[in-house]
């Protein structure tokens, strides 16, 4: 949509975050209304921005930047849902920085489409969607883990709850933590193996692309291995099924996610040739979306 840029919704989310942050010290009658209003404005602008991409000739999950913007959109929508479902919780202090971080990462990465033009659309969609949901699950687990540690620290230090900084109960946070760890393990595994299938279908006999030479694949494999180990640890050791240990595990999962996302952002179009090609025409035809020149600012 003309006129809507990344800056529009990033600014709205930033103002919502600033209002939420200011609420720790001072609150006005219009505080909550202003915060929700700015978050809704941001989400509307964000949705219109993504809709304009989807309406164009590039698929919504077809580039690293778009993919990160969709993850940010899902997290922002989850935040708004929590704001209405559990009014008074300080969720924005945790979710909005993550949303802004993803938008910043999207701004600094490429809109160049992924290289999978020869692959069936279904596997493209499955691979992108599973990894998108896995990212959301890891982010939710990370936020729950962070809140768990803060809430546990407050309770250990006998600090009474403040109406300006309300967090969910430890039981609820531990349950969210535990579930998100299990769900993210399944989704990352699904995303990884659908990527392997996609790579096979796409490249066939293409020797320019080596799966294990792609840094994004390697970092994703590292995250998958960590999640599998964490799940086995959880199942084998009952004390790790709840409480701080799960919180630490979700924080570590987020660490792996950050590495994957940074690799993703820095290496440009994931899935492209990993062996330098002396034929530029061949390289361009291996890019997904049939419009590799479409690069947004």
């Amino acid at each position: 949509m003309p006129g809507i840029t990344l800056l529009c919704f990033a600014a709205s989310y930033s103002v919502a975050f600033a209002i939420e942050l200011a609420g720790l010290w001072v609150r006005f009658g219009w505080h909550r209304v202003a915060m929700i209003g700015m978050a809704i404005a941001g989400l509307v602008a964000h949705s219109l921005y993504l809709a304009s991409i989807a309406a164009g000739d590039v698929a919504i999950l077809s580039s690293p930047a778009n993919w990160m913007l969709v993850v940010a959109w899902v997290l922002a929508a989850l935040y708004l849902w929590v704001v209405f479902a559990a009014p008074g919780s300080a969720m924005g202090l945790f979710v909005l920085p993550l949303v802004l971080g993803l938008i910043a990462l999207a701004k600094n990465t490429t809109y160049q489409p992924f290289a999978d033009a020869n692959a069936p659309q279904f596997w493209n969609w499955l691979h992108g969607s599973l990894l998108l949901l896995a990212t959301v699950a890891v982010c939710v687990g990370f936020l729950a883990g962070l809140m768990y540690l803060i809430q546990s620290w407050r309770l250990k230090h006998k600090l009474p709850p403040s109406p300006r900084f309300r967090l969910p109960s430890l039981e609820k946070l531990a349950r969210t933590n535990s579930r998100s760890l299990g769900i993210s393990a399944v989704l990352v595994a699904g995303g990884f193996f659908s990527g392997v299938v996609l790579s096979r279908l796409k490249d066939g006999g293409n020797t320019d692309y080596h799966l294990l030479a792609d840094p994004v694949v390697l970092s994703l494999l590292g995250m998958l291995l960590w999640l599998v180990v964490a799940e086995i640890f959880r199942l084998a050791y009952p004390a790790a099924r709840q409480g701080r240990k799960v919180a630490y595990m979700t924080l570590a999962s987020f660490g792996f996610l950050v590495i994957t996302l940074l690799t993703f952002a820095m290496t440009g179009a994931h899935g492209g040739p990993t062996v330098p090609s002396d034929n530029p025409d061949r390289e361009s035809t291996s890019m997904h979306g049939a419009n590799p020149t479409k690069v947004r600012p």
């Binding site: 250990k156 006998k158 009474p160 709850p161 039981e171 004390a239 099924r241 709840q242």
Partner: protein
């Protein structure tokens, strides 16, 4: 207002006296039924809580309200006590003071823990019981309905009820609720059977907890508490095993040494719990649990001192709200009393209006008879002129009565008007 209240509260009577005068709902119903039989036509509402027993009475019609001694005698008779034994502990309030007192009681400004929410429902239940038995009447209807409205206004316009101040309520609402999302599936262990344990159990029960186990050195005392809360009883020797099973522990024993040391906890409890969250509320003095247990993973240990600080903080916050709550009560009391006084003048106003209307109609009839036949428009104009004249003449005395009622009893003006205009009683 023809209102009178006789009763006792935590301000002037000890627990023993309040216990002797307390009424169960069935006893209150019997007392009100007996009152109706012995004082037909006299309204009565009986409010009985753990902190107060108050009998409100109002006269209906021209009947005088019974003396305080009659109310005291009724309270004594219901409990088969000699009236002399209780009369010194009883307080009597009359008229406007009853209204003001009831508004304070319903709004929880007269409670032992100012701002506690239970009193509103207790006042409501007392009033509803009187309505059901037919012992409430126009005066008590007005007074109690206004009190309930005032209490709700104080609750919504001030933060008086938002800050909890009793140790068990702070422990459950501010801390246990931040550990556990729900209580209905949690195992609650009570060590000892003291009053604090009883009060904490009440809060936990209100939050939905249902699985209680009581463990006490003396089984007799634990039996009574177990019966009250539908709880299981465990043997003292099973303490460690029960601590492994529990999610929430309330300890209130009078033991001189800690019941559970850090080594005990690590050796016999922590390992089997597998770091499952444990909320420990140590209300004993000296403490039953080694404070170092609170540093163990998954264990949240609170003693009286930890909670007292939170209670004091909340109490100070409540004190800031008191002037606003008092201002609401004062405003509502004044308004209620002004309206009640105005209602007492309404028969005089009606009488005055009726008599002047009779005069007006007689004079109109005489005038119409004397004049040549008038057309309809002229006759209507003359009638409207007479109506306006009467209304304008009536307006100043009525306004004066209203103003007098707002500032106090309009008895003097009331009598003056009656004599001046020769209105009969």
């Amino acid at each position: 207002m023809k209102l009178r209240m006789v009763g006792c509260s935590h301000h002037g009577s000890n627990v023993a006296m309040r216990e002797r005068l307390a009424f169960t709902p069935d006893e209150a119903a019997s007392a009100l039924t007996a009152w109706r039989e012995s004082h037909p036509g006299v309204e009565a509402v009986l409010l009985s809580t753990c902190n107060r027993v108050e009998l409100y009475s109002a006269s209906n019609g021209d009947q005088p309200v019974p003396q305080g001694s009659a109310l005291a005698e009724h309270l004594a008779t219901c409990h088969a006590l000699p009236v002399d034994e209780i009369s010194e502990q009883l307080v009597t309030l009359d008229g406007d003071a009853v209204v003001e007192h009831l508004f304070h009681v319903a709004a929880s400004l007269d409670s032992m823990v100012v701002g506690e929410p239970q009193i509103l429902s207790q006042v409501k239940q007392a009033y509803e019981l009187a309505c059901r038995l037919g012992s409430a009447g126009p005066h008590t209807h007005g007074c109690f309905q206004a009190a309930l409205r005032v209490a709700r206004r104080v609750a919504s316009e001030t933060a008086l009820h938002r800050h909890r101040v009793s140790i068990p309520s702070v422990a459950i609402a501010d801390f246990a609720s931040n550990v556990f999302e729900r209580f209905d599936d949690k195992q609650v262990l009570v060590i000892g059977a003291g009053e604090m344990a009883d009060e904490t159990l009440r809060y936990l029960h209100d939050e939905g907890a249902r699985q209680f186990t009581i463990i006490n050195r003396s089984p007799e005392r634990s039996k009574a508490l177990a019966q009250q809360w539908d709880a299981d009883i465990a043997a003292w020797g099973d303490l460690h095993q029960e601590l492994v099973r529990a999610d929430l522990v309330i300890s209130t024993t009078a033991a001189s040494q800690p019941l559970v040391t850090l080594d005990n906890f690590r050796e016999k409890i922590a390992g089997q719990r597998q770091q499952r969250p444990l909320f420990l509320l140590d209300l004993a003095m000296p403490r039953d649990f080694d404070p170092a247990i609170g540093d163990e993973i998954g264990t949240y240990l609170y003693s009286i001192d930890d909670l007292a600080a939170a209670c004091d903080r909340n109490r100070k916050r409540r004190e800031k709200e008191l002037p606003l709550a008092e201002a609401i009560i004062a405003e509502e009391t004044q308004q209620f009393l002004a309206e009640a006084r105005l209602r007492t003048t309404s028969p005089l106003i009606s009488q005055l209006r009726d008599e002047w209307n009779l005069i007006k109609q007689a004079e109109l009839a005489r005038l119409m008879h004397k004049l040549d036949p008038l057309d309809e428009q002229a006759a209507n104009e003359i009638t409207r002129f007479a109506d306006r004249l009467v209304n304008k003449l009536l307006h100043p005395p009525m306004q004066s009565l209203r103003d007098e009622a707002a500032s106090g009893k309009p008895t003097g003006l009331f009598e003056a008007l009656r004599r001046l205009l020769q209105l009969k009683e």
